[in-house]
């Protein structure tokens, strides 16, 4: 079942290539819904246990997959948001076949990232997800897409290269028989080598987190992607750095994570504030969302690096659910762009004509700036509270981003949706048909998991306790 869930979207993507044009939306939607259904079924059964089989014995690579705990939470969110993306693509894009295929292929790779329990397998999925996201940018991107594409690819591939070296190094210096996580943990690397290997691994994850100063690809990537926001949504899901650090770096490099904790926490706290502050200046919705996402990821990083239980739980909670509302906000920007032909934040008065679009966007923004009662708050508050126990000043620094977040979000919202519609401006139509679902469903999820968090906490908390107790930290 777990294998089916991982590879079903890829099969669906291949199937789309031979499907008649008229049926492609339906097939893609069916595959995405089925994947989500499989995920929910797995969830009901308490997750999929570890499955391991040799894959490339000569290299020591195994095919080890498991969907439980935070992996399952992230996989479910991925499946949900892919379904939302497919629904929106079917409505928004003329002849969406290739885009749908890429979205589904990317879903497979992302699910693989979360399921992988073998470093080589993880690396393969990690790189595999890059292909569809590059292709989406290359095919559907804006006029400056090549520059953005090169930058994105250069950052990612450079990071990946260092990660690959680390992966090989971990097995070489530790002496593990395979690359499976379970084996690697039994043969830990000691001493200075661990720190260097951690840094190598960190390079890839910091690009993907992203962490200042390795974030420069992010604003361009989002600005240049297709105006519908669908590739941006998938790109948001691809920000798996926080997960990679939690699932692999903490168990494999316990001493190094403790040693580098102050530096990394400082970097993450700075990223949170820096992103929020720059977002205040942006007049392009997509760049603004990119920097807002950067700020959130700084908070995620702060939680993971702090090695505090509450903070780590919060970081994974935030990582999972920021996909929901940030992703939906990108699609909301897409809807705005479809109506007024611009992603500028100074349009004015949209709410006077499109109440539902504006209202749902506002709700999603409140989730994003961590208004309590919505999903963003549980993550952000837990991270800051936990980080405060480790380092009060850094928690304060990152906490300043909550003020900046209110400033950038409400300013951009006001100049776009509030105030008056300019003279003679085009009339804005309100939400139609499935668009309600595209924005409403994520908002409902954000409210549900902001009020009733137990289902997600039950997935995340035991795993965090397990990892951190093995670490012996606080």
């Amino acid at each position: 079942m777990i294998h089916l869930m991982i590879f079903l979207p890829l099969l669906g993507a291949l199937l789309l290539l031979v499907t008649p044009r008229a049926w492609r939306e339906e097939v893609a939607g069916f595959v995405a819904a089925l994947t989500l259904g499989l995920g929910l079924w797995l969830w009901r059964d308490g997750g999929a246990a570890l499955y391991s089989a040799p894959w490339v014995p000569a290299l020591g690579a195994t095919y080890s997959v498991e969907l439980a705990g935070p992996s399952l939470a992230l996989a479910l969110v991925t499946a949900l948001m892919t379904l939302v993306a497919v629904i929106y693509a079917a409505r928004r894009i003329e002849n969406p076949g290739p885009l749908l295929a890429l979205v589904l292929a990317m879903e497979s790779a992302l699910l693989g990232i979360f399921a992988a329990r073998d470093l080589v397998l993880f690396y393969v999925f990690f790189e595999a997800a890059l292909l569809p996201s590059l292709l989406m940018l290359a095919i559907y991107g804006g006029p400056g897409r090549m520059r953005a594409l090169v930058k994105f690819a250069a950052y990612t591939l450079l990071g990946s290269l260092l990660m690959l070296l680390s992966i090989i190094g971990v097995r070489y210096y530790g002496g593990s028989p395979t690359f499976a996580l379970a084996d690697l943990v039994r043969f830990p690397v000691e001493g200075a080598a661990q720190t260097w290997l951690y840094l190598g691994f960190l390079a890839a994850m910091a690009v993907k987190l992203p962490l200042w100063p390795l974030h420069a690809w992010l604003p361009d990537f989002h600005e240049q992607n297709h105006a519908s926001g669908i590739p941006d949504l998938m790109g948001t899901l691809y920000k798996v750095g926080g997960y990679g650090l939690f699932a692999f770096a903490l168990p494999l490099f316990p001493d190094a994570s403790l040693e580098l904790r102050p530096v990394l926490m400082a970097l993450a706290a700075w990223t949170a504030l820096y992103g929020a502050w720059i977002a205040f200046r942006q007049t392009n919705w997509k760049r603004l969302l990119a920097y807002a996402g950067l700020s959130h990821m700084g908070i995620v990083g702060l939680g993971i690096f702090s090695l505090n239980e509450t903070a780590t739980v919060g970081a994974l909670y935030l990582l999972a659910f920021q996909n929901v509302y940030t992703g939906a906000l990108f699609l909301g920007v897409g809807m705005l762009q479809e109506r007024i032909g611009s992603v500028d934040t100074r349009v004015g008065g949209v709410m006077t004509q499109a109440g539902a679009l504006s209202g749902l966007t506002m709700g999603l923004w409140f989730a994003s700036i961590a208004v309590p009662g919505l999903a963003g708050f549980i993550g952000e508050f837990s991270v800051l509270l936990g980080a405060y126990q480790v380092s009060p000043w850094l928690a304060f620094l990152a906490g300043l981003s909550t003020i900046a977040a209110a400033a950038y979000a409400l300013t951009a919202f006001q100049t776009t949706f509030w105030e008056a519609r300019p003279w003679g401006a085009v009339r804005v139509a309100d939400l139609r048909q499935t668009e309600w679902l595209v924005l409403g469903l994520p908002l409902a999820v954000a409210i549900l998991f902001g009020v009733y968090s137990a289902p997600a906490l039950n997935l995340i908390q035991p795993a965090v306790r397990g990892v951190l107790s093995a670490l012996g930290g606080t």
Binding site: A53, E127, G349, Y388, T402, L410, Q414
Partner: protein, 638 residues
């Protein structure tokens, strides 16, 4: 009846009204919203009547990771005398204001949306006062902030955004921008306070290992914690309280918040939400009792804000702005009271202030309605002839806030001044001076609006209709009589209110000889009467329109401009600077990346044609790598 019904009913009202506005044609949405709040009020009364001495705690479901004693924090409600009282005020005054709004907002295009937000506000405010833990209180805390944001910005595009006349439309556009800015300013300044509140929670958790209020109250006694830690935590909480209650230095958003519809000003920015800071400190009394330093800070913040508000109110010309600065000033009194440990006096003033200030705002709303949105007091005057009923209710409010004996404000203000006297003579002098100024500016408000010649442009101002009269009448009665709930001993009273609240919050009695107390009372009455007489004398001389202090008062002591210069402008500049740097960083770092990724020789031939090749080669490389592994898999026979 379970406590969760209290916030749930208005929340359901909100959900229905916001999701299905079409189901509620005409004024039915307003009636539904009023009905849910009335139902909550009935529940609050039932619970109040059946209340025992022991506080009740009702736990619902798990919510936040950790944060309670070795457990996950749960959503739970806590019902003691303080929350009972707050729930009664919120639902009672809230219901009256809902009722008033059905008439007041009757012609607004977004009538149903208004009541949805109003219901949302009541629900969040109830969560705030019923919460059994600080994080849950924070839900209500920011929830009312969101409601306040939505309602201040209710006319976000101006009230004539569909007008076809160009001049009207442009004026409306400007109004829209001003309203939106006011709403945003309120939210952001509140967020500054909220960060303080959050830091306070983080520190409390660090000190005591829990954020559940009853657990904390229990542990505070036994735990060995450095005094500096408690002091700091209390100061952090004070920052939060200052933000929400519009105290110095985070006060400037509250006068701007008058951009919202008048019932909103009455409910949110006078009677309930802005008193949340006072509630927070009273609720945390067990911490402040251990932190004398922080308590002194609370008292002085309150005293200075009371003075600041009173000075700023002296020369305002907007009928609502005078009341807004007056609210700032009265909230300062409450902070002063809880700062010197007189929690009961502070909460009692909260109660009476909720009555008389809501009354004054609603009376002002009736005037604004009658004069077709005119808000300048210089263009009013003599309205008592046109609106005798509203005039009478407004007069009750003025007498109450001026502290004239038997009206409610007299008793509550007197208790605060006595407590201030016992704590520090300097605080007392400030408090007494503010009482004098209060009586003056409220007298000025009264004479300019209701007495003298009619100076307006509307031919026949009309009296408020029946639906608006009911809340005005009830509130006028309460503003007049509520003081008898807490008649002090030396006046032969039973101080019932102190006894009731004392079961939840210990009342620290102060030792003042009865003769001194009589003297203090006489001084306070003299200040009130003196202020009113001063205003009356100025009225005779027809010199009231220009109040004392001139431009300094009219510009609220220039605080806004100071903040704009010191904080807002530099922040914007820094954001712009960082943006430029970030785009630059971009270039520098991707240069490095290219340098290390691409062979050095090729780097010198970098040009646009090459970019594409480079990208494609990377794609191909990755694809090849993947293909290699795939082949190995098949070949390896795994």
């Amino acid at each position: 009846m379970p406590l969760f019904l209290l916030p749930l009913l208005p929340l359901v009202g909100f959900a229905l009204l916001i999701l299905f506005p079409r189901l509620f044609p005409g004024k039915s949405g307003g009636w539904l919203a009023s009905g849910t709040v009335l139902a909550s009020f009935v529940i609050a009364v039932t619970r109040f009547l059946g209340q025992g001495d022991e506080p009740a705690r009702e736990i619902l479901w798990t919510w936040l990771p950790g944060m309670a004693l070795n457990a996950n924090l749960s959503v739970g409600f806590w019902y003691d005398q303080l929350s009972a009282l707050m729930a009664l005020i919120i639902t009672g005054v809230g219901f009256l204001i809902h009722l008033y709004s059905v008439s007041y907002m009757g012609h607004d295009r977004q009538f149903t949306r208004f009541f949805a937000f109003l219901n949302f506000f009541v629900a969040m405010m109830l969560v705030l006062v019923l919460a059994d833990s600080y994080p849950l209180m924070f839900v209500g805390w920011e929830g009312v902030g969101v409601a306040s944001y939505l309602l201040i910005g209710f006319w976000f595009s101006g009230r004539n955004s569909e007008a076809s006349d160009r001049d009207i439309r442009e004026a409306s556009d400007r109004e829209g921008v001003a309203n939106s800015n006011a709403a945003r300013k309120a939210f952001i300044m509140n967020r500054i306070g909220d960060l303080g509140f959050m830091l306070g929670m983080f520190l409390l958790y660090r000190l005591y290992g829990t954020l559940v209020i009853p657990e904390l109250a229990e542990r505070v006694d036994g735990a060995q914690v450095a005094a500096a830690g408690v002091e700091l935590a209390c100061l952090f909480l004070l920052v939060g309280a200052v933000g929400k209650s519009g105290q110095l230095p985070l006060t400037t958003w509250l006068p701007d918040a008058m951009a919202g519809p008048t019932p909103v000003s009455a409910l949110i920015h006078a009677a309930t939400m802005v008193t949340a800071g006072v509630y927070l400190i009273a609720r945390s009394h067990f911490l402040y009792d251990l932190a004398p330093g922080a308590s002194t800070w609370v008292a002085w913040v309150g005293a200075l804000t009371a003075l600041y508000g009173a000075l700023s109110a002296l020369n305002q010309h907007d009928i609502k702005k005078i009341l807004a600065y007056s609210t700032v000033s009265q909230l300062g009194y409450m902070f002063l009271a809880v700062g010197v440990g007189a929690y009961s006096a502070g909460v009692f003033h909260l109660l009476t202030h909720a009555f008389f200030k809501a009354l004054l705002f609603l009376s002002a709303g009736a005037v604004i309605h009658a004069l077709h949105e005119e808000q300048d007091v210089r263009r009013m005057g003599g309205l008592r002839r046109f609106m005798p009923f509203t005039h009478l209710t407004a007069l009750m409010g003025v007498l109450a806030i001026a502290g004239i004996p038997v009206w409610s404000g007299f008793f509550s203000k007197d208790a605060i001044l006595a407590a201030a006297f016992a704590a520090s003579p300097l605080l007392y002098v400030v408090g007494l001076g503010v009482a004098f100024l209060t009586a003056y500016y409220m007298g000025r408000w009264y004479f300019l609006v209701w007495r003298g010649e009619y100076r307006g442009s509307v031919a026949h101002p009309h009296e408020a209709d029946g639906l608006m009269k009911v809340p005005l009448g009830i509130l006028a009665a309460l503003a007049t009589l509520a003081g008898f709930l807490n008649v002090p001993t030396f006046l032969g009273g039973g101080h019932a209110f102190d006894d009731y609240l004392g079961r939840a919050i210990p009342v620290h009695g102060h030792e003042i000889p009865i003769s001194t107390e009589w003297l203090l009372t006489l001084l306070a009455v003299a200040a009130g009467v003196g202020g009113l007489l001063w205003a009356a004398a100025e009225h005779r001389r027809r010199a009231l329109a220009t109040g004392p202090l001139g431009a300094a008062s009219a510009n609220a002591l220039y605080l806004d401009r100071v903040y704009d210069g010191l904080v807002a402008a530099p922040s914007r500049a820094l954001a712009a600077g960082l943006d430029v740097v970030d785009r630059g960083l971009d270039g520098a770092l991707s240069g490095v990346a290219r340098n290390s990724a691409a062979p050095g020789g090729l780097f010198s031939r970098w040009q646009s044609g090459f970019v594409r090749t480079y990208a494609v080669s990377m794609l191909l490389g990755t694809a090849l790598l993947l293909g290699y592994w795939a082949l190995r898999t098949i070949g390896g026979g795994a």
